[in-house]
Amino acid sequence: MRRVAAAFSLAAAVSSWACGGEPPSPRVTGNDAWESIEARARGSTVLWRMWRGDPSINEYVDRWVAPRLLRQYDVTLNTVDGQGPEIVNQLIVERNARARGSADLVWINGETFNNLRKESLLWGPWAQRLPYALYVDSLSPIVMRDFEQPTGGWESPWGRVQFTLIYDSARVPTPPRTVPALERWIRANPGRFTHDQQFTGTTFLKSLMYALGGGARPLQGGFTEERYKAGSERVWTWLDRVRPYFWRRGETYPAGVADLHRLFANGEVDFTMSYNENEVITKVRQGVLPATSRAIVLRDGSIANAHYLGIPFNARNQAGAMVVANLLLSPEAQLEKLRPEVWADGTVLDLQKLPPALRDRFRALSDDSRGVPHDTLLRYQVPEVAPEYTERLSRDWKSRIRANVK
């Protein structure tokens, strides 16, 4: 058996070697000054494995970030598609094959970070060495704890998002603001509400778990089976009561949030949802959602989290990856990313640490009537809990609710 596994590993290693590009740059050590890291990165190429499913994000990375990297640091940025479990799968295969790394930088958070740390697939810690880390909102538990896990410098924060419901103000003049009000609305408007089967849908279920169990606090402090059972039972009971009034009586669900957006835009349902409080602005601008779409947060708690950049254990260009992460953390890059016509992704910087002129520019971008006011977002924000809650809730929803169609 071992011989066969070794043969596969050898084949993968040969294939990786054959596909390899330039030789790896020297590894970064703890004593290297930032200037030396920048100097080492010059003339190199960074391969970034990231989710490429949103044209706005792609455009920001390809048209704004990549040219600046080349101009300011002489670093060429290449991006390839890959997210979450794909990244974990790829790195495990590379480790088993003892193959060269196929990515220098990965876009991750939550369960992926948890799996990568558990499997020792990340290089680090390195994030605190970035010059722009100085501006990071280091007091925010949303930014500094990734699904309750301390980031510890193993990943550098890149953006911050918050869960919102999106409704069409032309169709729903007075949207529900709490979970009990949402239940009443769903019952009064059968067939007009649903959620998707993937990450955004699971976050909605997690919001229910928080709201029905007294907030995030009872679930904090790591995963325990007892807390999960108590919390999830309340969700299943709520769903058993309410889902007959869901779209298609809760017998089928849109695959992903993009499908839910489509149902909403076509008028089949009156709500969609997003794990980015500003997505409503970008999607309206792109014409994906109706112009009268608005975002709201539920007052029972609106889950917020941050997304990060990690460097794989086998990255061939650690210096280049750090330079890219540093540029992405710079106030200019964060401000550009926040612009509604770019991506509208929240910043991970503490605005109080920025020069006043820059601070004002950030604040000016937060005033869009289609989005949720900044102070409302902060008032109702609740953090993510241990990633095992998300994993279990998603898996059990599939077996207990989705598969249980009469």
Binding site: M1, F8, N266, P387, R395, K398, S399
Partner: protein
């Protein structure tokens, strides 16, 4: 002899990636290699076989594959027989029949969503004609339990492939057989029964088997059109493969093996049917 050896070498070269892939899948399914490996055991196999979702997904997938293949097969025979003429209208009709052939499956599936969903063109037209009180009252044809939307999309797509082959079969073999039958005194119906239909049947059987296995394993159209329960086998496989828990990766490989077995069974059925036809002859 040298030529035969070369042929064997070429065949092995072509088959080796597939054999390597199957071997890797088997090893991953028993937890010997790959993400989430925990040493050789049958735990993934047991988990998958004990899960009701596997069997309901398998039955649903086979139903959709069978229904779309059968419909495309019958339509291809009918259309190829009817549109054989040399008139301009026949040539035009033949062009339209194979029109969907170059379009990717995902494009056809997206068209099906645009036309068949409850907010689609069909529902708006029937609503405008007074058939339904609102577009949403039209019976669900997308994400529906019976997979009607998916069956329609795959039938349209695969029909164009099968009818293209049917035209070729009739042009190459059908004409000679029909002339022979007619020269032996067969009438139009008898010629169709003893010459045209058997030629089409034999010529279309291998591509129909290919269509069946393709539809059973198709992901991109299925994800756009299939319901969430029962979950089609390709979607269930992808879900296991992209589950955050590494322990579930092995289950994805077991599901891949089940899908491979479906394909092997389809080939065995083809061989059995072909042998029986030969034996009857």
């Amino acid at each position: 002899m040298k030529g035969q050896r070369l042929g064997l070498f070429a065949a092995v070269l072509v088959a080796s990636p597939v054999i390597a892939g199957i071997a890797y899948t088997v090893l991953s399914a028993i937890g010997a290699v790959g993400p989430g490996r925990g040493g050789p055991s049958l735990v993934h196999v047991r988990n998958v076989l004990a899960d009701r979702a596997t069997w309901s997904g398998l039955v649903w997938t086979l139903w959709v594959a069978f229904a779309s293949t059968a419909l495309a097969f019958i339509l291809a025979i009918v259309v190829a027989t009817v549109l054989r003429g040399d008139r301009r209208i026949d040539r035009l009709a033949r062009t339209f029949a194979i029109f969907p052939l170059p379009f990717p499956h995902v494009v056809v599936a997206l068209c099906a969503v645009l036309v068949l969903s409850q907010s689609g063109i069909l529902s708006r037209l029937t609503h405008a004609a007074g058939v339904h009180a609102s577009p949403g009252d039209m019976p669900a044809l997308v994400y529906d339990r019976w997979g009607i939307g998916l069956i329609v999309a795959m039938t349209v797509k695969e029909f164009s492939f099968l009818v293209f082959i049917a035209f070729s079969v009739l042009a190459s073999r059908g004409v000679i057989l029909e002339e022979t039958a007619r020269s032996l005194g067969a009438g139009a119906i008898r010629t169709f029964r003893v010459a045209t239909l058997p030629a089409l049947w034999r010529g279309l059987l291998p591509p129909a088997i290919a269509v069946f296995t393709f539809v059973a394993g198709n992901y991109e159209a299925t994800v756009l059109l299939a319901p969430s329960s029962p979950l089609a086998l390709p979607l269930l496989t992808m879900e296991s493969h992209s589950d955050p828990s590494l322990e579930r990766r092995g289950e994805a490989y077991v599901l891949v093996l089940i899908a491979a077995m479906v394909s092997v069974c389809a080939v065995i059925v083809h061989e059995w049917v072909a042998n029986r036809v030969e034996a009857v002859k």
